[in-house]
Structure formats: structure tokens, C-alpha cells
Amino acid sequence: MTDSRAWDADHAVEELYAAHYRRLVRLSVLLVHDVGTAEEVVQDAFVAMHGKWRGLRDPDRALAYLRQSVVNRSRSVLRHRGVQARYVPPSQPDHPSADEDVLAAERRTHVLEALRSLPDRQREVLALRYYLDLSEAQIAEMLGISRGAVKSHASRGVHALRSLVKDAS
């Protein structure tokens, strides 16, 4: 690894892409559900980060910028779609002998759908807290809300998600 302070914008994109692209796409999938959209969101974030590199200059700050950018862009994509996904409880599988893979895939879909039915803030806090393992302080800073608000979104989100997923299983 070269001295990160000497990176130019192109180099920063390459390094951060290699280290974080997949994880950021997954983060965005948790927020927008749709993989294609998530890929676009994350690519847009990288393009924006490239433009901002002169002001960032530091991989940690650039990563924080990318995360924030992915969260904001995901939120704005949802808003553009205009329709808040309503949670539709999955029908009971009528083929109980379905194999392990199918069950796992269904479970994943249920979780993503349940996430989509939460309010924006709850969904974001859950993804940042439990997928990226960020601290309450980091989340508060990124979302521009208080730590208390992070705590309460997290606990409501956990509660809501648990009951939605319980319904489904």
C-alpha cells in the first residue's frame, strides 16, 4: 500500500473500491432492497467521492463520506420511487419439503422486505448499527441526529423487525 496522503483521486477510488465496494453495495441493498439500484447508488457515491477527494485527502474520511453518501442517495432513491413499500407477510410455503437454499433465500427476502417497511431512519440506523457495526456516536454524526435519537430509532427498529420477521417464520 502506498502512502495514502499522496493518493490522487483516481488512486483513492481504486483503493477504496477494492476494500469497500461490495460491503457498500450490500449496505445499500439493506436500504433499497434492489441490487441494481444499490450498485448504481454506490457507483454514484464513488464518482462523487472522486470529485471531492481534494477536500478529503484521507482514506478514513473518504470512507465516511462514501458511507454517508450511500445512505443519503439510497434514501433519495426511495423517495423518488415515491411509494413506500408496504410489508406483505409472505404466504406460508406450501411445499414444506423445499430445500435449504430455497428457505434461506425466502428468509433473506423476508428480512429485506421487512426492512423496507420500516421508517427511513429506523432502517438506516439498523443497517449502520448492525451491518456496518458503527457506534451510536458515528451514526449520530452521519445522520445529523442526536445519540438519543439513534438509540431510540435502534430500539424501535429492532423491535419492529423482530416482530415482522417473527410473523413470517
Partner: protein
């Protein structure tokens, strides 16, 4: 990995990780690279796109002047009504400059990537005067009897290679207008950091990157009304259209992030110009500008949307009207150019007032539209 004390936390952690475990996006580094390259080129190219768009508005050169800026909302395709949309024919004007030789419409480099590194050449419809300064159109907010409206000033500006659109937008948000009756409502410290112009689609798309270290520009400041906020955004749309001489759609990036709202106004979809009648003052004096020093005879020109196209003017000192007259705008009920000449008036400081004709006599209806300028008539 974080240690969760609560089994619920642990469970959510597992659920989320599991939910996206099988997502393995294909490699897209090349497409990101391609776009960051395009972005760098496009930023350099903005200037040329502005110039290319200007070619459409040849009316400005037909009118015999070369000033940046038409009037948004008029039929810009070069109809005769628009020809005077620039302060044309203002003899002795301090702002207009003789038309530059018309550039060939095939000349603009907007589609020619190879010339992006070249120094901008003089585009057709911009006022490239001696010393490399241009008269940029900049809209500001002013009070009228029917509420806040936009007025336009021309600011002589040294561009130094900056494109006219971002230069004009920068002035709109941060520069004090010449006329003390006008103002900008953008929060102090607002900057235009970058302007991307994309002329590839059906509409020219302009993305304005705004920043402010003190306040969040997405929110409407407490002391700002909703109408003020809307007008502040229209101020930018009108300014950019006048500078680009092209109708356009505008979207915003605030502090580096695409903004769904600016000053509390929904910008999730690109903004277009609002109806002139709702945002633009109905009478403007374009020339002479505020504070002009000139000698008689001099010509006053401007735009008015006046009942029966009649425009009244007067020159006054304090309460004393020294001279008054009437003239006719070229058309009624649209913003149309008017012009009159003051043949002789004693030297001194004056207030020049132009108003539309008020068909109701001022007792009802929206009232009279007025624009005033302080001028000095030299011996």
C-alpha cells in the same frame, strides 16, 4: 465485530448479515473510472456548452448588441419579441457593447472533446469587451406592490476563463446588487462551488453545487418565508437561463450531496422556470444602471409588461418632477422592450422612475409596477 449484550441485538446483526450474504456485485471499477474521467472533462467543458447554447439565441446578435442574457420565459427561439429582450438599441449605453463578429454555429466545441483543453474562444453571443470583461445578467429580489419579484442587473465581470453561468450564479447568491432596492435572500456565506452543464438531453441540465459553512441550505431559514425561498431558487434558474441563453432544468447538490430540498423547497425533481408573471417584476429599467453618470441626451431602455403597452416615466429631484413622459412598449401583456430618449435636462442628481400604466387608477387591482434608478446627469 461488536459484542452485543442483548440477544435481540445479536439476532438482528445475524439477520442483516445473512440477508445480503449472497449479494456479490460484479466488478464495476471500469465504469466508475469512465465516469470520473467524463466528469473531469465535463467540468472543463462547461464553458463551451454555454457557448454552444448561446448560438441558439442568435436574436441577441441580430439586435445589434452582444450582451450575455436573454429573458427566460419569452419565446427564445429568436422571435422578434425576444430580439429586444436584451437591452438592445440602447445608444450610449454604458453596458452594451458592439456585437462581436458572429461566430459560425458550427464552431462551438461542445461536441468536440479534442478541443476541451483549448482556451475558450470568444463565443457568439457573449459580450467580450475590451479587457476581457463581460456584462453578466444577474437576477435579484426586489419589492413590488404585488409582492417580491425578480429584477435583472448586468454586472461587468472579469471572467478569467470561468464560464458565464457559474459566474452569474455566484453573483446571484453572494454579490450585493448595484441597486439598493434589490437584494439577494440567499443566506450569507452561500457559495456556488461548481456548475455542471449537460446539454446532451432534450433539456439542458444544470447541476448547481452549493455550499455554506454556517447553515444547512436544505432547510428554509427561520426568518425566510416560503415565497422568499421559492423566489430565491427561481432567481438561480432565471440567472442561469439568461447567462446560458437557453431554457434549462436545474438540480442541486448541497455540501457535496444531491439535495432533495433547498431552502425547504422540493428539488427532488429538476426545477424549471416559473411563470414570468409570478416571479418577474413587470417593469424594469435595464439601462442606465443604478448610479450611472451620463449626459443628455441619453436613452433609457428596459422591459415592461404593461397594460396597453403604455409605460410612464419621470425624472425627479426629491418631490419635484423635473421631466416626465410616456412611451410604448413593443407589445402588451408580455415582457416587451421599451425605450425613450431624454433630450435635455439640467445637470444634477435624479431619480429615474418608470411605471406601467395602471388601468384601475390605483384604487384596485395589483397596483402600479415601478422601477427606479438613481442617476447623475453631467453638464
Amino acid at each position: 465485530m461488536t459484542d452485543y449484550r442483548d440477544p435481540d441485538d445479536e439476532r438482528v446483526h445475524d439477520l442483516l448479515h445473512d440477508a445480503v450474504r449472497d449479494i456479490d456485485p460484479p466488478d464495476r471499477l471500469d465504469s466508475i473510472r469512465a465516469r470520473t474521467r467524463v466528469r473531469s472533462i465535463r467540468r472543463r467543458r462547461t464553458w463551451f456548452l454555454g457557448a454552444g447554447a448561446a448560438v441558439v439565441a442568435t436574436a441577441a446578435t441580430v439586435a445589434g448588441v452582444a450582451v450575455v442574457g436573454g429573458l427566460p420565459g419569452t419565446d427564445q427561439a429568436g422571435g422578434p419579441g425576444f430580439a429586444g429582450g436584451t437591452p438592445g438599441g440602447a445608444a450610449g449605453s454604458t453596458l452594451t457593447t458592439p456585437a462581436a463578429p458572429s461566430g459560425s454555429p458550427t464552431e462551438p466545441a461542445a461536441t468536440d472533446a479534442s478541443s476541451t483543453a483549448a482556451t475558450p474562444s470568444s463565443p457568439t453571443a457573449t459580450a467580450e469587451a475590451e479587457g476581457g470583461t463581460q456584462a453578466l445578467p444577474v437576477y435579484y429580489v426586489g419589492e413590488t406592490s404585488y409582492g417580491l419579484r425578480l429584477f435583472r442587473e448586468f454586472h461587468r465581470t472579469q471572467l478569467d476563463g470561468q464560464d458565464p453561468v457559474s459566474a452569474a450564479l455566484t453573483q446571484a447568491v453572494s454579490t450585493t446588487p448595484d441597486d439598493g432596492d434589490y437584494r439577494t435572500d440567499w443566506p450569507e456565506g452561500t457559495r456556488v462551488e461548481e456548475v455542471d452543464v449537460d446539454g446532451s438531453g432534450a433539456h439542458t441540465m444544470v447541476t448547481v453545487h452549493l455550499a455554506n459553512d454556517g447553515v444547512d441550505l436544505r432547510q428554509r431559514p427561520e426568518q425566510m418565508s416560503r415565497d422568499q425561498a421559492r423566489l430565491a431558487l427561481q432567481q438561480l434558474v432565471y440567472t442561469a437561463e439568461a447567462a446560458a441563453q437557453s431554457q434549462l432544468r436545474m438540480s442541486f447538490v448541497v455540501d457535496g450531496e444531491p439535495a432533495d430540498s433547498v431552502l425547504g423547497v422540493d428539488t427532488s425533481r429538476p426545477l424549471k422556470e416559473a411563470d414570468q408573471v409570478d416571479v418577474v417584476a413587470l417593469v424594469w429599467i435595464i439601462d442606465p444602471p443604478e448610479g450611472a453618470r451620463l449626459s443628455a441626451p441619453f436613452t433609457v431602455s428596459g422591459l415592461a409588461n404593461a397594460f396597453e403597452a403604455t409605460v410612464h416615466w419621470e425624472l425627479s429631484q426629491g418631490d419635484t418632477v423635473v421631466k416626465r413622459g410616456t412611451t410604448t412598449a413593443e407589445q402588451a401583456f408580455v415582457m416587451a422592450p421599451y425605450e425613450f430618449t431624454v433630450k435635455s435636462v439640467p445637470p444634477g442628481d435624479y431619480t429615474l422612475t418608470v411605471t406601467d400604466d395602471d388601468p384601475t387608477g390605483g384604487t384596485e387591482g395589483p397596483g402600479v409596477s415601478v422601477d427606479t434608478k438613481s442617476i447623475t446627469v453631467l453638464p
